[in-house]
């Protein structure tokens, strides 16, 4: 899989990295805590926040360095004629959401802590879920309290969109896991549509807010195209992730955002490599890629009806990122 060495938008990516480091310093201090939560009434245990929040988050942040979400937001803001560095809080917010989702994806759905913690994570489950929760909820706080370049009403709108993406994705995740547990086969993969917003739709919302175009007529089309592109991306990543697992690559090194209900998921008692072989031979991998291609095509069709620099930039981003992953997944499929 291609890595950051071939990142197509290095400057925008660097802005995403810088934004998070600015809003969540790698070294927790009483000053940062005061900025985010208000003056200490008693005594902060700064060390506990460092160990139980900042360090685990940065460990993941340093592993996953693509920063596609803040990259997309920064590219769109720039295309709209504004400087992305004026909006660090929203760039940090979309990356935080992504990191939180990745953390939660590492868990199993057990009925108690012992059954639920994935073997590859060193964090105890209560700490891991708390890191994810705090990161998710920090995102809307960043937007509404620290994105000073936005008007009051726009900040409210964007904070609502952040929370909306969260409840859609959380509901989608709950359904996704339950479909997988029940071995159900949804006729339409509608739950993927709920999981999509946190991928590329929220960065589009951030840019629309920064450009004060969230109520403009073309906003709906951009959001719709981003949602289709998100599903295509996730499906391609599912193929790449399943194959990587089949080859025994360590989970920490995977760039996947798994879908729990997936035709590619191993059946009970099946190893990842056997499941992968079965999926390839039965045509399931090709079917998933075909679905991904349809979603990608729909994104393109929606964008074809939209004019202006934002649509053009989203198109370029999809071609560079989604098409890259789709091509990799198809290459894998053909090689098998």
């Amino acid at each position: 899989m291609k890595t950051v060495e071939s990142h197509p938008f290095p400057e925008a990516r660097a802005r995403g990295t810088k934004a998070l480091e600015q809003l969540l310093p790698r070294q927790c201090t009483p000053q940062w805590l005061e900025l985010m939560t208000g003056p200490a009434r008693f005594d902060w245990d700064v060390e506990a926040i460092q160990q139980g929040f900042v360090d685990p988050l940065y460990e993941l942040f340093d592993q996953k360095t693509e920063r596609w979400r803040p990259t997309l937001a920064a590219l769109l803001i720039e295309a709209g004629g504004r400087a992305p560095e004026r909006y660090p809080a929203m760039l940090a917010a979309v990356e935080l959401q992504h990191l939180a989702l990745l953390l939660l994806e590492r868990l199993r759905n057990g009925r108690n802590i012992a059954e639920s913690t994935a073997p590859e994570t060193r964090l105890p489950l209560p700490v891991l879920v708390t890191v994810a929760y705090t990161a998710k909820q920090m995102a809307s706080t960043l937007v509404i309290r620290h994105e000073g370049a936005l008007a009051t009403g726009t900040r409210s709108w964007l904070a609502y969109q952040v929370s909306r993406a969260l409840y859609e994705a959380s509901a989608g995740m709950a359904v996704d896991i339950q479909f997988a547990e029940k071995e159900a086969s949804p006729r339409e993969r509608w739950h993927l549509r709920l999981l999509a917003p946190l991928t590329f739709r929220l960065p589009v919302d951030c840019a629309l807010a920064a450009l004060d175009r969230h109520e403009a007529s073309g906003a709906r089309m951009l959001r719709e195209a981003a949602s289709h592109a998100s599903i295509a991306y996730r499906l391609a990543m599912d193929v790449l992730g399943r194959r990587a697992r089949a080859r025994g690559e360590p989970a920490q090194a995977l760039h996947e955002v798994p879908i729990h209900w997936s035709p590619l998921a191993p059946r009970p008692g099946e190893t990842p490599s056997v499941a992968w072989r079965r999926s390839v031979e039965s045509g399931l991998v090709a079917e998933v890629l075909s679905h991904a291609r349809r979603e990608r095509q729909e994104a393109g069709e929606v964008l074809a009806t939209a004019d202006g620099p934002l649509a053009a930039t989203l198109r370029v981003f999809i071609e560079a990122v989604v098409d890259m992953r789709l091509a990799e997944a198809e290459e894998v499929c053909h090689a098998e």
């Binding site: 805590l33 985010m36 939560t37 008693f42 005594d43 902060w44 245990d45 506990a48 926040i49 160990q51 139980g52 929040f53 939660l104 199993r108 759905n109 057990g110 009925r111 108690n112 802590i113 059954e115 639920s116 964090l123 209560p126 700490v127 879920v129 708390t130 929760y133 705090t134 909820q137 920090m138 809307s140 706080t141 937007v143 509404i144 309290r145 009051t152 009403g153 900040r155 409210s156 904070a159 609502y160 929370s163 909306r164 969260l166 409840y167 859609e168 959380s170 995740m173 709950a174 359904v175 896991i177 339950q178 547990e181 159900a184 949804p186 006729r187 339409e188 509608w190 739950h191 709920l194």
Partner: protein, 368 residues
């Protein structure tokens, strides 16, 4: 509703508060129920999620998203949080019946936070029945609760025309900040249990309580009530401060009841905090005061995660022998006194201030 769980506590309330609470309780219950069940309406759901709602979608969401929360709502707790919103609305001349969603919001957030708390603590029971993750699994319960917590923003957003731009902004800001600081407070709580820190200070425990326990219990419901009720800025700030003092007192009393429940219907495992090795205020006081073998024994029990009732009783006796429970209660009383000072500055009619004062008294006198 389990009547044995939900009604016995009224005896702990002053009559003037109890009567008012009983007056609003049916409406609170209906507001919460209607707001939660409204989400099952295909049109409402389609608008909230932005996807077409077929039978399959409805069935999938009912099972995975709605069920964990509805399981808690059906066991109905005291509904004190929506009642607090009603109390504030009435105090500022608003009719709570015109603000159903905001009344329900406080309970939906509270119940969702209980699910997350139970996941985090791996609690076996809640309100006398199995916890949500025992029924649905950790991830389904957690994702469901997170979805409900954040759906609260939508409830505020839907009423934005009636609320006006400034109040909508204030409400969304309050929700954002309270959700976030709850995470910061919880971080300290779970990190202490993870790293088994022994040198933590009582003042650090109180700081995490300010952010964790005071939020969903009292500070946020009072903020929702004050903002929706259109309270003057100074009053809104005082009500938030009142909620914080009340939340501090509540948590210290809760810690004491956790290891020494005073009611057969406590609804949780007895001494659950000791099972989980929590360094609550009373434990930190005890660790400061115990020496030698007795101190080592308490630490050993806290780190053992034992469920053995005899060993748990031994730990409680060790803590109690140091006067830690007494001192925790005295501090709770101090926070309760702060409540009275804050109430004096509110621009409300005496009856509303008296009700809030009676609530503070109830919080420190309650048996569960």
């Amino acid at each position: 509703m389990r009547s044995d769980y939900s009604s016995g506590f009224l005896k702990d309330m002053a009559p003037m508060l109890g009567e008012h609470y009983v007056k609003w309780l049916p409406y609170c219950r209906e507001a919460v129920r209607a707001t939660a069940l409204e989400m099952k309406d295909p049109e409402v759901l389609a608008n909230a999620l932005g996807i077409p709602v077929t039978d399959e979608v409805l069935e999938g969401l009912s099972s995975a998203w709605f069920s964990p929360l509805l399981a808690y709502l059906e066991r109905s707790g005291k509904l004190l949080r929506p009642y607090l919103v009603c109390l504030c609305l009435e105090a500022y001349g608003k009719d709570p019946r015109e603000w159903r969603r905001q009344v329900a919001l406080a309970e939906l957030i509270h119940s969702s936070s209980l699910i997350l708390d139970d996941v985090s603590d791996d609690s076996l029971f809640r309100r006398g029945a199995p916890s949500a993750h025992q029924l649905f699994g950790m991830r389904v319960a957690g994702a469901s609760a997170l979805a409900w917590l954040n759906l609260g923003f939508r409830l505020a957003w839907l009423d934005r025309e009636a609320l006006g731009e400034q109040s909508t902004h204030a409400l969304i800001e309050a929700l954002s900040w309270e959700h976030f600081v709850t995470g910061v407070g919880t971080t300290i709580d779970v990190t202490w249990a993870w790293r088994r820190h022994e040198r933590r200070l009582p003042s650090q425990y109180l700081q995490q309580v300010v952010h964790r326990s005071t939020s969903y219990t009292y500070r946020l419901p009072l903020k929702i009530g004050a903002i929706t009720g259109g309270a003057p800025k100074a009053d809104a700030e005082r009500l938030a401060a009142f909620g914080e003092e009340l939340g501090l007192a509540f948590q210290l009393v809760d810690d004491i009841l956790n290891i020494k429940p005073d009611d057969p219907h406590w609804g949780k495992e007895t001494a659950e905090d000791i099972v989980q090795g929590k360094r609550s205020l009373q434990v930190l006081y005890a660790l400061e005061r115990l020496e030698g073998a007795r101190r080592r024994r308490l630490l050993e029990i806290l780190d053992s995660r034992t469920h053995d009732p005899e060993v748990l009783r031994e730990a409680v006796a060790l803590i109690e022998s140091t006067g830690a429970l007494w001192d925790s209660m005295a501090l709770a009383q101090k926070f309760r006194t702060h409540c009275d000072d804050i109430l004096q500055g509110l621009s409300l009619a005496p009856i509303h201030r008296e009700r809030l004062g009676a609530l503070a008294e109830y919080v420190v006198r309650r048996a569960r």
